[in-house]
Symmetry: C2
DNA sequence: GAAAATTCTTGGAGCGCTCCAAAAAATCCC
DNA sequence: GGGATTTTTTGGAGCGCTCCAAGAATTTTC
């Protein structure tokens, strides 16, 4: 692969002139320019290699996106939530003329990926992992953590998960529901984890900060109605797990209201309900979380706690690109009431 | 930002030793290593900057993806087809431990983007643009063009669009349909373009090679039944255009079978039909193209010409990563018959 | 205790480019 | 024509790093 020097030598001019021919052609006498261009073409030189420039300029003009938790990029693009995230980041990058780099990371290569990624900053999908944050800090590039807080030194954008959970409970309790089941997100691979009522140490086995926060919201709002979280079945499944619905109906036949932590889970529940001939919302009400497009198109359409997912990622990308001073943003959520919730059958 | 040299100077060792501390620590005497590490920490040095290494190593370990036509990355991620494409490319990159760079490109910055992108090769979503291909060639990096052929020198992966179109027509004709309408893809922004019957120069105003190929498939298969493409309304709309359905029903009230060039369009048609109280497949049959997930979940589920979109992108990414000798791949399509097509009402 | 073997550290070369001050060439002006 | 201007071209410095041959220090061996 020829270099500027090669072309210069072949054309009998200096490296600098060849560089000018490509980058500031107006500086070079037309006939010389023509000649150099001809030589370059003959040598198969396709213009200055960005690698060289890079070292000099020091900017990649790229934002790195690392998927939440243990998910792969493919998982992310496949999930309704992850897709919106990528979409939002893409919008901001589009607008800024930057590249969005989907940075790969299996559990053990993540740290290395952060150390090596050719980007000007990162969006960390959800840095449950302190190591990861430390690694990002070490690299001294701007980065933003989504959905968890890592202190005042670090950019983070979260949603009001507690408030969303409270809104969901109040809505259902207001309709008259008293028998609930909660479907939480298992953040590691594996089958459903089922916590049946009775234990008082109601905590998620596997969950991100956001999940715990939402659970706390459920707890508080249930208390308002005199209900205890301890008396409610709690199930943890991975977001796309098609058996989530089955786990709920098998373990919680009495529940009249199922509250989930993601639309994707809620959609699975709806599908399982349809399969079992359980009427939603006649027999059981279901709520989602996130407000993805899919949630509006289920039958019945899903009542869900909506957030502006793409907006969140867009903001994150902007913060990275502008390298703003650290701040912690909490975005609002909004309960969107649709057809999947109704009064419980008497 | 401190460099290897800075750390070396501060620790009283050479640059080379500091480099070893980070990259081959086993080569450095433990106590020296400790000392250097301490100095590095004190200076806030976060490890060797990948920029430097890059120049030496020469590989970005990244695949660039440039969206088809005039679409932005955001458009791509939003569309069912584009999303599958990104998904497939992501899978291949995940597997190879590479980064997937979604390369931004407005119409006028595309060429520059290709020239500058920090990648080892490209997937060009659909290089209708000869300029683009030339630009990619010039850069001398491996690249693969999706859905159009650019000659034997250039990697390309297409589908058998003609065959798919023929299968759709034969299926519908076999059911007894004789009054068709065709919904093609407009590849530039703008409202629906409507070609009413009668003109003999049946050609798409705006379309990629693939679209013309599919149209040709329709033409040939229609001829088998003694029908002429010239007698059939032909409408071009952008893929996500929500008014595509309206354009069809307004202009082709007599059609009993509507053939589209993408599931997304077909879904719009179904939605419009539902809105107008037109029964599918009772009043009118509808076929999609692509076989996206969405197509299986409409009501009625969509009969569609399915392709392995993710597989196509996966193969493309692999070809880029392995830098295989040029080849032109044509992938098969398969008609998937579902509920959106039936015999026409008598 | 000195030579040999081993382990550790060094610093130059080079990756391909851009920037820029200075040199060279061309043009202008009286 | 010759000095002053203006336009072009040059090539060194430097971006941060890795590689590697060679030198220095340490350990082993007899």
């Amino acid at each position: 692969m020829p270099t500027l020097d090669d072309v210069g030598r072949a054309a009998g001019v200096s490296r600098g002139t060849v560089s000018n021919v490509f980058n500031r052609p107006e500086l070079v006498r037309p006939e010389l320019r023509k000649r150099v261009e001809a030589v370059a073409r003959a040598l198969g030189y396709g213009g200055p290699d960005p690698k060289g420039r890079l070292l000099k300029e020091g900017k990649f003009n790229a934002v790195g996106f690392m998927p939440p938790g243990a998910y792969s990029i493919a998982d992310t693009v496949r999930s309704p939530y992850g897709r919106e995230l990528v979409l939002g980041a893409a919008q901001a990058c589009d607008a800024a003329g930057a590249t969005l780099s989907l940075v790969n990371g299996t559990d053990d290569t993540r740290i290395a990926s952060i150390r090596e990624a050719l980007v000007d900053g990162f969006i960390l999908g959800n840095a449950a992992d302190i190591e990861l944050v430390a690694s990002a800090k070490r690299r001294r590039l701007p980065f933003v953590i989504l959905d968890s807080d890592a202190g005042p030194e670090v950019n983070s954008i979260r949603i009001d998960g507690r408030g969303g959970a409270i809104a969901a409970v109040r809505h259902l309790a207001g309709l008259g529901h008293r028998r609930f089941a909660i479907l939480s997100i298992r953040r590691t691979a594996g089958p459903a984890i089922v916590h049946m009522p009775g234990r008082t140490d109601r905590e998620l086995l596997e969950g991100f900060a956001l999940d715990h926060e939402r659970l706390d919201g459920f707890r508080r709002a249930l208390a308002e109605t005199g209900l205890s979280l301890d008396a409610i079945p709690l199930i943890e499944t991975t977001p796309g797990d098609p058996r989530a619905g089955a786990a709920v109906f098998d373990n919680c036949p009495d529940a009249t209201a199922i509250m989930t932590m993601s639309d994707w889970q809620a959609i699975t529940v709806l599908a399982e309900a349809a399969k079992r001939g359980i009427d939603v919302p006649g027999d059981v009400s279901v709520t989602g979380f996130d407000g993805t497009e899919e949630a509006a198109r289920t039958s019945p359409p899903l009542t869900t706690v909506a957030q502006d997912i793409a907006g969140k990622a867009r903001l994150a990308a902007e913060m990275v690109l502008k390298n703003t001073p650290p701040r912690q943003v909490v975005l609002p959520v909004e309960l969107v009431v649709r057809g999947s919730t109704a009064k419980p059958r008497l």
